[in-house]
Symmetry: C2
Subunit: 339 residues, 2 copies
DNA sequence: ATGAAAGCGCTAACAT
DNA sequence: ATGTTAGCGCTTTCAT
């Protein structure tokens, strides 16, 4: 393995000069620089990031901890974050937490091992009561809906507004008995999550339209998976629950619902209209294609990386944590066609 | 930041003893161990991986470089690899290459920066002519179909056999004019890739059944995306190409094809039967659900990690590179129903 | 413009 | 069973 010292010897200079060349310091004579660069190329030299990090405390790598790596939504998000980080000269390492609180905390503390300059944490397990534990000694940006007003910068979706818009869209298209498929909703107001926030938007839209809230239309999923969506849709149809629209907490769930309704012989959009949330790539290609709410993922990623870079670069500066809520659009496709 | 030295002082022992406790060395008196562990907990100590790595050359982290992180197939694979690595006490960092040759090489050389103990590289850009460049000075396992007989351990899919089986399945179900949708196929025999290998299987099956090869039935995709699949399917239907079955190079392409055929008013499976390759999670939930070939991803992941761990642990040992081809099954669903 | 010295936090090798 | 010494590869500081 070639070290900086080897290069220095080969180029007939000191290690310091090589270091200065590598880090683009001024005050290196062009001739010297050329000689050093040649030696580096000849010896196929690569900096040892561990050694550099030991001195500088920087690795040029940020971590991205997500619940799942085979969930299409997180793939979408990760791609946007990688692109945003790349523009700022940073690498991204993705790690999986399995949506478990302990792993989310582990991701935090392991990142402190200084393999990362900062961490973007997508949390689904941690809640408001864990907010203080986010105060790690490395920069952290929170991506998600579980903790608001926490001690770190935070990027979130426009859950309530977008859900109201999605539900409103179904109402506009003539739906009167709209089901909402969601995860469990906590009892206390501090327990925020995608389900409770999107439920609030759903209820607002119904209220705004003068439609009654019907508890039987709010159905609970064991997980945000296609399997759970399909199963629940089949059950709802089998029990002859009267509904003409479905707002699903995520597109993945909606994909399952489309399948489940097909199994039950329910036609979409003629009998029941369906709308999801996320606008994952697949949604446009389903048959019928899936209407959905599209948060601006690119902007979310940009802001998350911006927040992180700012904290990384101004280490001491304890500016108050910021919050960013992304804009959204309603994407109308076949699953809510007709009226 | 708490260092090992701080812990040593707090516990009234030397740094070495703390190190021995951390690394579970024998010859530490239980009482001492307890005292050290208490000090570690009290001071909230974390090892500095960079420093440890600088000494030992190990990080406990392996890299996984994939073309895309929002491709459902790689998500599936990554999940399996993370699970396999976890069982062996290793962390996994996922990086995106964007399917570009230069980035795949960059992933290799960056990993040499010693952030990783080894790298699992899923290559689609590198070819046989680049095989020698894989001989990095860190352990590498190749996952993919582009290079066979290269200088490193290699895990691949049963492309030819599985494709023959998929095509055979369509024939069994009564198809006689079976289209094959694939990427570009190289001119020289060294240019292997998923398209050329799966094409070989497709042709074998037709030959075995005594069906003619028809060049017009082998169609080329600009990329392995839903968009490309949908577009091509619409074109084929629009040009009144006569076909009653489609074998798609991946499930993702097949998803697009299902959509494109629906756009063209072609019914699946009544008018045309469709089969894919990969068995991604979505395939079971499409309408119609997608028949496909399912390589054993779990086994692929296990072997890839096994290969890598073996190389990491026996650094000097230059055993000949091994190759592992995963087994597969044909999963029959609605898209090839009836006859 | 270049170099020498020191040390980041840790552990292998060798004492004791 | 525990401690001492030395050094991994790099950069910060200060000198020349």
């Amino acid at each position: 393995m070639t070290t900086l010292k080897d290069v220095a010897e080969a180029a007939g200079v000191s290690a310091m000069t090589v270091s200065n060349v590598i880090n683009d310091h001024p005050h290196v004579r062009p001739a010297t620089r050329t000689r050093v660069l040649a030696a580096m190329a000849r010896l196929d030299y690569r900096v040892n990031v561990a050694a550099r990090n030991l001195r500088t405390g920087r690795t040029g790598v940020i971590g991205l901890a997500v619940p799942e790596v085979n969930a299409t939504y997180y793939g979408l998000l990760a791609t946007a974050i990688i692109a945003a980080a790349e523009r700022r000269g940073l690498r991204v390492c993705i790690e999986r937490t399995g949506a478990r609180t302990e792993n989310e905390l582990a991701a935090l503390s392991r990142s402190r091992n200084r393999l990362y300059d900062g961490l973007i944490l997508t949390t689904v397990g941690l809640g408001t009561r864990d907010a203080q534990r986010l105060k790690a000694d490395l920069p952290v940006v929170l991506l998600g809906e579980r903790i608001f007003g926490g001690p770190v910068d935070h990027v979130a979706m426009p859950n309530v507004d977008a859900s109201r818009a999605a539900t409103h869209h179904l109402i506009e298209r003539g739906c009167r008995r709209i089901a909402f498929l969601r995860g469990t909703v906590g009892d206390t107001p501090e327990d925020v999550d995608v389900s409770s926030l999107r439920q609030a938007g759903y209820r607002q839209a119904l209220r705004d339209a003068g439609l009654p809230l019907d508890a039987s239309l709010e159905q609970c999923l064991p997980s945000f998976t296609m399997a759970a969506g399909a199963e629940l849709a089949r059950t709802m149809a089998g029990e002859r629950l009267d509904f003409d629209g479905v707002f699903c907490v995520t597109d993945t769930v909606a994909m399952g619902v489309l399948r489940g309704l097909a199994d039950a012989g329910v036609r979409v959009p003629q009998d029941v209209k369906v709308i999801g949330f996320d606008n994952v790539d697949e949604s446009a290609y389903l048959v019928p294609s899936l209407s959905t709410v599209a948060p601006d993922h690119t902007m979310m990623a940009e802001r998350a990386v911006d927040f992180l870079v700012r904290r990384i670069e101004n280490e001491g500066d304890m500016a108050a944590p910021e919050e960013f809520i992304a804009p959204y659009t309603v994407v109308v496709r076949e699953s809510t066609e007709g009226r």
